[in-house]
């Protein structure tokens, strides 16, 4: 997958935030994409970290089940089939792994409840998986075999990871059929017909761009940092 995409919307929709814009933290003005913010129980504190490339930090309020959902284009993102769609981000978990959870990608949930529809990367206390949920059925796959992850599966504390989902082919519901996950450029697993479990996402099912971070057990101020968020959807 090339890192470089067409710069023209005539070719596709390129949505990304490098978190190197003004410092507004307001709902509807966060980051260069003007992310919306929805609190999960008690609000997290967003902040920006000095860095050559722009880093946004989310710090939870300090109680279990607290967190924040950042989101865009509510219920207005759908995915047809075909090749060339990517969803990727660069993230790290800073304070502890225990209870430090995120979901990043396209989903229909702004709470800690698992989305009914979406394609996302999931951290459960640093244990990585990826998921394609649909009203037609939910398929989840654990990340395995990545040399930079502990036991091939789990993020290392305070370590940056590049995580990417590559979508291809078309399923019987008109949505993407194959989802491959890469972590730091290494293959981490696949949801596909060839693997015996294709994505069932339909082309009319709606989602939104999403970064959801919450604590589910540490009861501490969990820190999560994101260097960039990027989605590319070629024009059909």
């Amino acid at each position: 997958m090339p890192d470089n995409f067409s710069s023209s919307p005539a070719d596709g929709t390129h949505t990304f935030d490098d978190f190197h814009s003004n410092l507004a933290l307001t709902d509807g003005l966060l980051g260069s994409l003007d992310w919306n913010r929805t609190t999960i129980a008690n609000a997290s504190t967003p902040s920006f970290i000095a860095n050559p490339n722009g880093v946004m930090r989310l710090t939870t309020a300090g109680a279990s089940a607290d967190g924040e959902a950042l989101h865009l284009v509510v219920d207005d993102v759908t995915l047809g089939g075909g090749d060339g769609i990517i969803i990727r981000c660069r993230v790290r978990l800073v304070t502890t792994l225990t209870g430090n959870n995120f979901r990043i990608g396209l989903t229909d949930s702004v709470t800690v409840t698992e989305p009914v529809v979406g394609i996302w990367i999931d951290s459960d206390a640093g244990l990585l998986s990826f998921d394609v949920a649909s009203a037609n059925g939910d398929v989840s796959k654990a990340v395995t075999g990545v040399s930079t992850l502990t036991s091939g599966t789990t993020m290392v504390l305070a370590q940056w990871y590049d995580i990417e989902l590559r979508l291809s082919d078309t399923n019987t519901n008109g949505g993407p059929e194959t989802i491959q996950c890469y972590v730091d450029g290494e293959f981490g697993g696949e949801i596909s017909a060839a693997a015996g479990d294709p994505s069932l996402l339909g082309s009319a099912e709606t989602m939104e761009h999403k970064i959801v971070h919450w604590d589910d057990g540490a009861g501490a101020a969990q820190v999560f940092e994101i260097d960039y968020y990027e989605v590319y959807i070629p024009r059909v």
Binding site: L23, S32, A50, D227
Partner: protein, 231 residues
């Protein structure tokens, strides 16, 4: 420096404003990057000028020592070493050169006072120089030998000039080692052994002020662009 750079943040951070978005002139909403505005004593008037490519104009209020700083990411930009970082813009000074000053690039100051930390192009009444300031030491070099500048050194009033700083290498403080300046594509000078440290913080900034004319000084900026490859 190639004009075509990666479109993905996975490869590097590309910050640019072509000033062809909505016409808001409110702090936090200026330009497509939602620039912040900080007044230097008396506020300038930002406006947008009809053109093919988008132009933002800053006009001072007619009093000496007054101006405006337009900036982003206060104290949140640092530079590690390595090649491929550039900062560039296209600007012209209207009305007069006398007292018509700017600093454009990365800096730690939103006043007329020279920044303690930063990498920027400087106009002092049109005389062009470039500077790398650090708490470890400050190095400034005058632009020279550029055929489109008066005497090779001075911007021409009401004339567009393209300015570019190209950063390369790594110094002993972890920051960029060499800064090469180009004006209208011609070499204008070089700073070697910059002392900027990798932990020193700056912000994207366009600072414009009058320091002597007591007139409504005009600065037009066509675009601002910075690229910082991911290490």
């Amino acid at each position: 420096m190639p004009d075509t750079i990666s479109t993905s943040p996975a490869d590097g951070t590309h910050v640019f404003d072509d000033f062809h978005s909505n016409s808001a002139v409110t702090t936090g909403l200026l330009g497509s990057l939602d620039w912040l505005m900080t007044t230097i004593v008396g506020a300038s008037t930002p406006s947008f000028v009809a053109s093919q490519n988008g132009i933002m104009r800053l006009t001072t209020d007619g009093t000496t020592a007054h101006g405006e700083a337009v900036h982003l990411m206060a104290d949140k930009v640092s530079l590690a070493g390595g090649d491929g970082v550039f900062i560039r813009f296209r600007a012209r000074m209207g009305t007069t050169l006398t007292g018509n000053n700017f600093r454009i690039g990365l800096s730690a100051s939103v006043t007329a006072t020279e920044p303690a930390v930063g990498v920027w192009v400087n106009s002092d009444a049109g005389v062009i120089s470039f500077d790398v300031a650090s708490t470890n030491g400050d190095i400034s070099v005058a632009a020279s030998g550029v055929t489109t500048l008066t005497s090779g050194t001075t911007a021409v009033v009401d004339t567009w000039h393209d300015y570019e700083l190209r950063l390369s290498g790594t110094n002993s403080n972890g920051g960029p080692d060499q800064v090469d300046c180009f004006v209208d594509g011609e070499p204008a000078g070089s700073i070697k052994n910059s002392l900027l440290g990798s932990a020193e913080t700056m912000e994207f900034s366009i600072v414009h002020w009058d320091d002597g004319a007591g007139a409504s000084q005009v600065l037009d900026i066509d675009y601002y662009e910075a690229y910082i490859p991911r290490a």
